[in-house]
Subunit: 248 residues, 6 copies
């Protein structure tokens, strides 16, 4: 925190009056839709992402015959999810940001699954943003994990797999620097004005699965990075606690 500001002032900075190290209200609605094998509405404040897990008994060509499974993800925003209507990805137009995010979700989730134990099946994690207010990728990862666990449970209850292929939790949170202050879990307004923007994906042992940091407005120092990492660790711990409550 910059020296010229008191603690109180700093806390006043955030548009929704959160403390710099405070998550938004986190809500998990289980079984939000009925067809998918796992279906979660994951809310980080006003960011609402429908995370579903769908199991299919086939694997992509590069895995055929290898006796292991695959976890993949797709991410999309509904056109009405953003303040200004966002045109759909149709007619082959490519939205680079969506491609990047869904690759991140897939990688993150694969890091906690023993694909051998999954058997020759694919679980697709669809993360469809119903309402966006910053942090859609971190909400997606955190919610997709719960949907994945539900789908795996179902597979085990149906006797399709014997050993649990899930090796641990994975959750994600954004951190950033705004007006010189490191803050946790940025909403859209905060994100738009952030000088530095980072996403951390971590497991329950406080190990890193993915770190992505960008100096949007200016480069950042090692000291700033350390403070952001601390905030992220704090946020992830809480998110994992919430995940575990929804997976008993």
């Amino acid at each position: 925190m910059s020296e010229n500001k008191t603690l109180v002032e700093a806390e006043m900075l955030r548009p929704d009056r959160r403390k710099s190290d405070e998550l938004r209200e986190i809500t998990v609605i289980e079984g939000f839709t009925k067809h998918a094998d796992g279906s979660i509405l994951m809310c980080f404040g006003d960011t609402k992402v429908l995370c579903t897990a769908s199991v299919e008994d086939r694997v992509p060509p590069f895995l055929r015959g290898k006796e292991e499974g695959w976890i993949t993800a797709e991410y999309a925003m509904l056109p009405s999810s953003t303040e200004t209507r966002k045109p759909r990805d149709r007619n082959g137009r490519v939205d680079g940001r969506s491609v990047e995010i869904q690759r991140l979700i897939g990688r993150s989730l694969r890091s906690v699954v023993d694909l051998k134990k999954l058997g020759e099946r694919t679980i697709t994690l669809d993360c469809d943003v119903l309402q966006a207010d910053g942090g859609t990728r971190t909400a997606s990862i955190t919610g997709a994990y719960i949907a994945l666990v539900h789908a795996v449970k179902k597979l085990m209850e149906e006797g399709k797999i014997e050993e649990n292929p899930i090796t641990g939790n994975v959750a994600a949170v954004s951190v950033g620097v705004r007006d010189g202050e490191p803050i946790l879990d940025l909403n859209y307004i905060e994100d738009s004005g952030a000088e530095v923007d980072m996403n951390f994906v971590m497991n329950e042992k406080e190990e890193f699965i993915e770190i992505q940091g960008t100096g949007e407005e200016r480069p950042f120092t090692k000291a700033e990075f350390s403070r952001l990492m601390e905030l992220a660790e704090k946020g992830i711990k809480q998110l994992i606690r919430i995940q575990n409550e929804h997976m008993k």
Copy 2:
């Protein structure tokens, strides 16, 4: 109704025990998301469609300079909305059915709007199916109408348009013949096995805006058509009553 069945037997036919002329439970959740100018979650039983209306201050090229507005619609199903995961419309692959449905929604809604009074703006009605259980196009039209009215109200309250461009209600319902029985508002199981499948789009004066009927399994007679039309009229009346409750 075929002569060999009693009234009781006929009513037993429907998987969810509805009478042949009974709608599913109709639920309207207003303000389901916050960014669009109108946002409705429209539920026909387990069919849940997010219908949003987004206003933009421009018109398509063919209307430029004509001092009138435009109403258009887009329809899509989330991949997880169906029993078997449905791949997304990406990379230019075309889903003919979606194209057909969104053209129908657009035409239906335009039929109750005086585009001159709307001024040079476009209202896009996005109908995104969160969960599908038959009748997604009729739920889309019925819900999009409410979202449209909300968006128009907002425009009037903001003083952007003076006269209400909405000239009346529009609602839609499906009817069909299954095991020889004409029935109202088919769910997915009923729809899959229907011999005849029709969609009616009507206004509050019991006039027709659109009729689409298909003999899926066999041709149908004039007598069957008349009975289906009666069922549709009955269903539409109820839907319009529900619409009006949500637009005061």
Copy 3:
């Protein structure tokens, strides 16, 4: 007919002086091209559609191994077929109207074919509009039926199928309301100014295979609908008579 007009006046209304219940001149040129298994130039007045039937010894993936065949259709307009040159459907651009029409043609033709008797083969009906003057979809269906029958005859003569899979005729005609008058088989000028526009697809027993009606300019009443249905029945009867003359 509206009460204020005499019969003579009403007949004067149509630009080509037809009576309200009169078809345009219907011409069928058989064997218009030589490669396809059936090839018909179907003319409804100045509307000229090349309807061909091509047999292939394979079925789409969803039918493999089911010992039945498939009927599918493709519809396209030549760029020079319309008054203003129409750009081609290239580079993945989608023409929603063409998709809708070819789905209609396919459904209509499948309704008169016993796919089991066809065996594991696909018949593709290509409807290419050489010149458009209204009613291209109804000319397509009516002509595609003749092309289909020719292709099936050839299959039977070659001993490839034993029993005739064709179960009856299918023909289509447009009707509409223009200046308050219900009229049969609209040409382009009439169609452009129609208040109500309907297409009927029927069989030789006066049963319905498909009904599509749109209140283009205004909703329509039950009374109008009844009159349009009568006109369509009259037109279809004549078209079926003409079809039969070309299939002996």
Copy 4:
């Protein structure tokens, strides 16, 4: 001609009993369709190409403001035009052969037009193959020239252009070597088995506009090339005579 064959034997070689230097029957049907500014059905034997010329009052971006016009061409085969049904160019799939042919047609026609005199307008020559039996590109060029002249005449009659921008004829013919014999105007069977395949585009002064020759099965010698050039010159002369008969 190879030495071991008499003249009679050589003439016997061609499947349709033509002499080696004989064109197929050339037929020109004027005004085949009514909407385009020029519309010709050009037949080289069983090869039938609908060649139309459509005038538009705009030019491509690279010519804007330069006070000259543009001539462009599009070439496509109807799916039913070939012995085995040819899938349409949809969904962005590219047919390299079509691209190549339409570029050739465009270049050839531009070579006989003074684009300055055309004024700021584009004439699109659509060459749609209704039936293919070899030589579709040469029939396209030869027919498109007549359609172009008709469209230009119309522009002059309407007073839109003052001076005739057409500077001379352009026609095209194929030649090839089959079983060692140089032959003129190959049909499909001949073309399939040709060792060498060439297309000549020439004007009325026996000058070359385009030469395209391919040793399909084997390289060819200078002597063979000379003989092929002679055949082409003979064929082009006749084609130009036929063109002129249709443009008085």
Copy 5:
């Protein structure tokens, strides 16, 4: 050569002071990259094309089970290879010129390969233009031949094929008429202003594999054609000599 110019004057015409029948400096850099089975940087003056040959143990569908191989080519220009940056061929946009050129390269190379002896494998010749200064297609063919020979040698050394499938050389050169003078191997400035533009593809026996000539600005005469052919023959001879030096 036109009569009013002395030999000296004519030679002065070319921007780089070459004689009318003189090639640019031809440079071949072998092993320019390390992964492909053959990799050549082919330079015709400032035109630099990376020509690589990649062997794959499969053939396209139309050749499966026929016990023969396939040679195919792909041609592309790097965006920075041209004076004005050239946008990439992405999102399904088609560059007709590239399609045409890669078809030409493929045909030319196939003409000197006995596909039976190649066995069931495909060799893809990638011609990627690093720097363009006219004649990219002729440099591509000439360089791809060397890369192909290298790849075939490797296959033979590895014992994968027994008999050499290469039946002879293939090389290509451009010729053209500029300011009335026939010239050999045009660079970009010459090409831009050429009245006539031709490409010859020939073998070591002075036979023709492909001839492509276009009267860009005006038609050309038989006399001009003969002179251009002579120039091409002279250039090809030198190119083949250079090829052979790089393939011992």
Copy 6:
């Protein structure tokens, strides 16, 4: 480094015998091609990327009229650049990895440019991989910076911009953990087997512009992260020194 290994052993680990903190041989070839405003062949060992900067006097739509410029990047691999030939990005197929990398390159370079001072122009940085051996994205960023500086110098020399818009260096390097050892600048073999993979983009003040880290095979600890950051800082310092040598 893990405690059980001597320094010698550790150094033995790398396939090319580099020390764990040693860059590959870094080569910069200036003016590799002649058309672009800046053109660098950047080599990190066997990884060779052609980095060019092309200036255009226009900006994307979202910047029009804002009196500032834009820096964008495109990244692609030549098909022959990889051990197994990589199909081209044609026909609208999307390569997610390329999209991700080019977005990273663009963001990184924009971080060191004052877009206001650039004026209303776009500089496109094309990074085309001629040969890939790991670290193509870091070589791209490091080389693109030099190409950018050259292009900017040219703009200044031509008097098109007055003040230098470049605010500092930007360079990138990869680090990773392999067999438990943190190493600098991974080549392809090392990268394939790495447990943890990170890319750092930094400036000359040792500040971070972008950090991307992935636990490919397993999560990583804070201690590992610190060691990787140190290695990256060391590598970046050297790369910036090399950049500066090429920009005097």
